[in-house]
């Protein structure tokens, strides 16, 4: 046994999550208790975060052959863990109101977080694949978790078939790459790549097929079509999870993979990603403009945002990586916040997804409306919010890399995007009309509200004083 070459400290965050999920499962077996399992989940997430704070460094070391733990990975792991914590906080109140068995959800949540975490630190096809699948399989169940809802099943099924389908593409692509390069390790592939100035065609084809799988997870055009349906059908906290954590892991993986093999030297790949980015930015924003379902709007917006991130990804370099990191923070906070608002306003029967549900919200629940406004403005990239600085970072990296066309498309499409964000805002500030048959009767939980307010405060804090965060990112990426 070659356990000796694994420094246990290095993989502790993942291990923590594993232990936590097993613990959760055992606790269910002994006695079902929502609060207890919730506390277990959140404390373990907190624990991981604390561990990261205490032991994190930007020092890079490998856990051969599967993992690499570096600053970038550690930073995003922390982000993912905190986001998972936020999602779990939101989930508690959300599921407490519903009669389903709530406890399994936390196991799945922990496992999905684990999957995303694995993606973040993996440097090998096997760990990439396993991380992806742990994430996906947990998500299938999470999406369809509310079995009382018909949409939930439909969404789960769609997600399952499509994810498996695209996984097959990813696998086939990896197989082609492996067959061409003889290595499944990123560094091994990089060695092969640097040894062969002209890559064989199967290598390219394999990468392109991998992009299908990665693109699916990111929800970028043309692999985006699942996103609105799944977001709509999934419970709001799960949608938040999909929008943020599951995509974030993949983004990091993509960055790492490309960085390691230096994919930017191949115009084909750059062109492929540029096309995807442009298509995502435009299609995502345009698709949302007439949409009346808030969750679908957020889904389309996340498609567009992934397009934006790809701009920074394509810009590459230190600045590009910084931009991606910063944007991920802003994007995570904002999306979780936005879906959190949807979650807090949802009731037994359905989620607060109709645009009309938000009519006059500002006068009914000013705090929630204010939070949602901040989130939407952040998504739209308006100053005083982290989203603005995120977008600023992206554009900066794009301009720096002289990707003028991409940047101009980014700007133009985000103008289109403004329309639907402010449409929701406008709805919230309108006078509430008379009683509505379909009106929601949510029970507001303090824990939700506090979570949202904290998220909102963070967004505004980072919007006004981003220096601290920028420093952090800087330190981690050194």
């Amino acid at each position: 046994m070659e356990f000796s070459n694994i420094n246990i400290i290095d993989v502790l965050p993942g291990l923590f999550l594993v232990v936590a999920s097993v613990l959760a499962m055992i606790s269910i077996a002994i006695k079902r208790n929502h609060i207890f399992i919730f506390v277990v989940t959140s404390t373990s997430l907190m624990g991981v975060f604390l561990f990261l704070i205490l032991y994190a460094s930007n020092h890079e070391f490998n856990v051969e052959p599967l993992f690499v733990i570096d600053g970038f990975g550690t930073f995003v792991t922390g982000l993912i863990v905190m986001s998972a914590l936020a999602v779990s906080l939101l989930s508690y109140a959300y599921f407490e109101q519903r009669e389903e068995r709530k406890e399994e959800y936390y196991i799945l949540l922990l496992l999905a977080t684990l999957g995303s975490d694995i993606l973040v630190i993996s440097k090998h096809f096997v760990s990439l694949f396993l991380g992806l699948e742990i994430l996906s399989i947990s998500l299938y169940a999470m999406v369809a978790y509310l079995r009382k809802r018909n949409k939930s099943d439909e969404a789960g099924l769609k997600y399952l078939i499509l994810a498996a389908f695209s996984s097959a593409f990813l696998l086939f692509g990896m197989a082609l790459v492996y067959s061409a390069s003889g290595s499944m390790d990123f560094t091994g592939i990089a060695k092969y790549v640097s040894a062969n100035p002209t890559l064989p065609l199967p290598m390219f084809a394999g990468m392109c097929l991998m992009v299908v799988g990665i693109g699916f997870k990111l929800g970028v055009v043309p692999f985006h079509m699942w996103a609105p349906d799944v977001y709509e059908g999934a419970p709001a906290p799960v949608a938040a999870f999909i929008a943020s954590i599951s995509k974030g892991g993949m983004v990091v993986l993509l960055v790492r993979f490309f960085d390691t093999i230096n994919g930017f030297q191949y115009p084909v790949l750059v062109l492929a990603f540029a096309c995807i980015a442009v298509a995502s930015m435009i299609a995502g924003n345009v698709l949302a403009i007439q949409q009346t379902n808030v969750k679908r709007i957020l889904a389309y917006s996340s498609i567009a945002h992934m397009g934006y991130i790809l701009v920074a990804f394509l810009a590459g370099g230190e600045l590009g990586e910084e931009a991606v990191s910063f944007y991920l923070v802003a994007y995570f906070l904002t999306n979780i916040g936005a879906f959190g608002v949807v979650a807090i306003l949802s009731d037994q029967d359905r989620d607060a997804e109709r645009l009309e549900d938000y009519q006059g919200l500002f006068w009914r629940h000013p705090k929630i409306a204010a939070v949602f406004t901040a989130m939407l403005l952040s998504l739209a990239g308006i100053p005083l919010t982290a989203g603005f600085l995120g977008k600023f970072y992206l554009i900066t990296s794009g301009v720096h890399a002289q990707l003028w066309w991409l940047v101009i498309v980014l700007v133009a499409s985000s103008v289109i995007g403004l329309y639907y964000y402010i449409r929701i805002i406008a709805m919230m500030f309108e006078k509430a009309e008379g009683s509505d048959e379909l009106a929601l009767h949510p029970r507001l939980y303090l824990i939700n509200l506090i979570t949202l307010l904290v998220l909102c405060a963070l967004i505004i804090y980072y919007g006004i004083y981003p220096q601290g965060l920028i420093e952090q990112i800087h330190n981690f990426l050194q």
Binding site: A205, L209, V212, M225, A283, I289
Partner: protein, 623 residues
């Protein structure tokens, strides 16, 4: 005695009336209104006396530096010299008389205070115009009088057409104003100053006669003058301006404001002298206008419109005089014209008020005995206007112009013949007006006989329009040159062509004969055989209506400028540019609908999307 007090007093009056006018007792209003102008007139007298007795050439007062940027430093500063003294004398005195007249004339009107406020404001602006020592300040006065003219034409604002006439007056004169503004810009560009004295000084240093810049500048200044003085081709506003109360017509549209153009040209004569072609144009405009307006006046029914066209025509004489460099003749005619035309308007106002606001002369008649004061004063005014020989002021002033239009070194026979034709027409329409109004049988009963407050100004003006003429007598007849001598330091005297020097008496004779024959013709057509005039009218009906409409200028401008503008702005009311953005929105929505079809909810469709993506990506790899 500060020069400032002269414009300041009416301004103060106006201010008081605007702010507290509605709360003042009714008899206080004319006291403030007329009083302020009266004091101003008094101040003018005192100042004028001192000015003359101290034999000053000019007097400068700076109130404050208006602005001062990179060489452009106009001040709120006043400059008094002989020319402006004549003008402020006329403005304050005639103004005062008209105020006094208005005190009775307007007494039953709701907007009594408003009327005096506007009128005071007008006097102030007019004084600023003539006293200004720089062109920017003059422009201020220039626009100010335009504003007051607008306000007073539209004084009875509930009538839609008054408002229209008022706006027309403002807008048409503004066309001239911007030409003048261009002149200012060019002057500033040329001399880096807009001070009138400095311009005059620099012009003589820098220019030679016929200089191109001088030509352009004078032409532009002429544009302004033409607009304000209702000369061709911007004369169309003045007949409509008669919608205002009669005192307004008297003060603004006869005596003072409309002669601002004359003042401008006289004031800037130094510049004009460098552009003889423009002076020629001034003469041509004057000659053409005086004839054109004369014919139009011949056919009018409305008493005040006759007077309006006559004003245009008389200012045409002044322009003619300016055109032949007969500066002081123009100013002399201005002064006399101010007296008699104010008189005629005031008298006409009295007639109209007496007849229940009846304007149509053919519905008047036989007022000779009903309104004796009005009749006699009107007769004096008409005589003066028709240049009845020897005893009227108008004879002397107009005679001078007739003579100089031929004899000045810039004059020629065509100017003279035009002027002569104008003189004939003038006396015809003047006496047509007189005969129709005061003779014949009474068509409308008299309801109101003017009181003393209206009569006194009439009488004073009648006296002035008679006596005024005697301060400047021709060579052949007393050779008195008080007026031109007084103006000489400012306005150079005219040089007469030597070979014509001895024919002055002949010209005078011809002019007198022409005037008299005009009277005779009027008598023949309107008293002796009135049916003949009707016959004449029906036999040349087209020409008649052509003249009646003021030579069709209104229609022309309406078709050419007003309607296209209104049409264009109306069809573009919704802003065509916006359609472009609507189009963008429509495209976005269309694309959105198209893309929404792809989100069909059907799983296989989504799978297909992934496959297509894969195919495209691999195709990229193959490329």
């Amino acid at each position: 005695m500060n020069l400032l007090i002269i414009p300041a007093l009416p301004l103060l009056g106006s201010f008081i009336l605007i702010v507290v006018g509605s709360r003042l007792p009714k008899r206080m209003i004319p006291l403030v209104g007329a009083g302020s102008v009266g004091l101003s007139a008094l101040a003018t007298l005192i100042l004028g006396y001192r000015f003359i007795s101290a034999s000053l050439t000019s007097l400068n007062v700076i109130a404050w530096q208006w602005m001062d940027i990179n060489g452009l430093s106009p001040a709120i500063a006043f400059h008094l010299d002989a020319l402006s003294l004549v003008f402020i004398f006329v403005i304050t005195f005639v103004g005062f008389l008209i105020h006094v007249y208005s005190a009775e004339f307007m007494v039953h009107d709701e907007g009594y205070a408003r009327f005096f406020a506007y009128l005071n404001l007008f006097v102030c602006s007019m004084l600023t115009l003539v006293l200004a020592d720089n062109l920017v300040l003059m422009y201020l006065g220039w626009e100010g009088v335009g504003l007051c003219s607008y306000l007073l034409i539209g004084f009875w604002y509930t009538e839609e057409k008054n408002g229209y006439a008022a706006r027309k007056a403002f807008i048409v004169t503004r066309v001239g104003d911007i030409l003048m503004a261009f002149g200012l810009f060019l002057l500033f560009q040329t001399f880096h100053t807009l001070n009138i004295q400095e311009i005059a000084g620099q012009a003589t240093q820098q220019w030679t006669v016929g200089s191109h810049t001088a030509f352009v500048i004078s032409l532009l200044l002429l544009g302004g003058a033409v607009g304000k003085s209702a000369q061709l081709p911007l004369q169309t506003w003045l007949p409509d301006a008669m919608a205002g109360p009669s005192p307004v017509s008297a003060l603004i549209h006869a005596a003072t404001m409309v002669t601002a153009g004359v003042y401008l040209i006289a004031r800037m004569h130094v510049v004009f002298e460098f552009a003889p072609e423009v002076l020629m144009i001034v003469g041509i405009i004057g000659a053409a206008t005086l004839v054109m307006a004369g014919f139009a006046a011949l056919t009018q029914y409305d008493l005040k419109r006759v007077l309006a066209y006559s004003t245009i025509s008389q200012i045409g004489y002044m322009f003619l005089a300016l055109g032949v460099s007969a500066w002081s003749a123009a100013i002399f005619h201005f002064m006399i014209h101010a007296f008699f035309k104010a008189l005629l308007f005031l008298a006409a106002g009295a007639v109209i008020e007496a007849l229940h606001h009846e304007h149509d002369m053919f519905k008047m008649g036989g007022l000779k005995n009903k309104l004796p004061v009005v009749y006699w004063t009107f007769l004096v005014g008409a005589g003066s206007l028709a240049a009845f020989p020897l005893i009227t002021g108008g004879f002397y002033s107009k005679d001078q112009i007739l003579w100089l239009s031929l004899a000045s070194e810039h004059g020629n026979i065509w100017f003279f013949l035009m002027a002569l034709l104008g003189a004939l027409i003038t006396s015809i329409y003047t006496f047509r007006m007189l005969f129709l109004t005061f003779f014949g049988k009474e068509n409308t009963p008299v309801s109101h006989v003017p009181g003393s407050s209206m009569n006194i100004p009439l009488i004073v003006l009648a006296v002035l329009s008679t006596v005024g003429g005697f301060i400047e007598l021709p060579h052949t007849f007393g050779h008195l040159t008080v007026f031109s001598d007084f103006l000489n330091p400012i306005l150079p005297s005219v040089t007469v062509q030597e070979d014509l020097e001895n024919f002055e008496w002949l010209i005078q004779l011809v002019a007198a004969l022409v005037a008299l024959s005009g009277v005779g013709l009027a008598y023949f057509f309107y008293i002796y055989k009135p049916e003949l005039s009707d016959e004449l009218k029906s036999s040349a009906a087209d020409l008649h209506s052509f003249w009646l409409s003021g030579w069709g200028f209104d229609k022309l401008y309406d078709r050419l400028l007003v309607r296209p503008f209104v049409y264009l702005s109306n069809i573009n009311k919704k802003d065509i540019v916006d359609k472009f953005y609507d189009g963008l929105v429509m495209i976005a929505e269309w694309v959105n609908r198209m893309l929404s079809y792809t989100q069909s909810g059907i799983l296989r469709w989504y799978l297909m999307g992934i496959v297509i993506g894969g195919i495209v990506l691999m195709a990229l790899a193959l490329l």
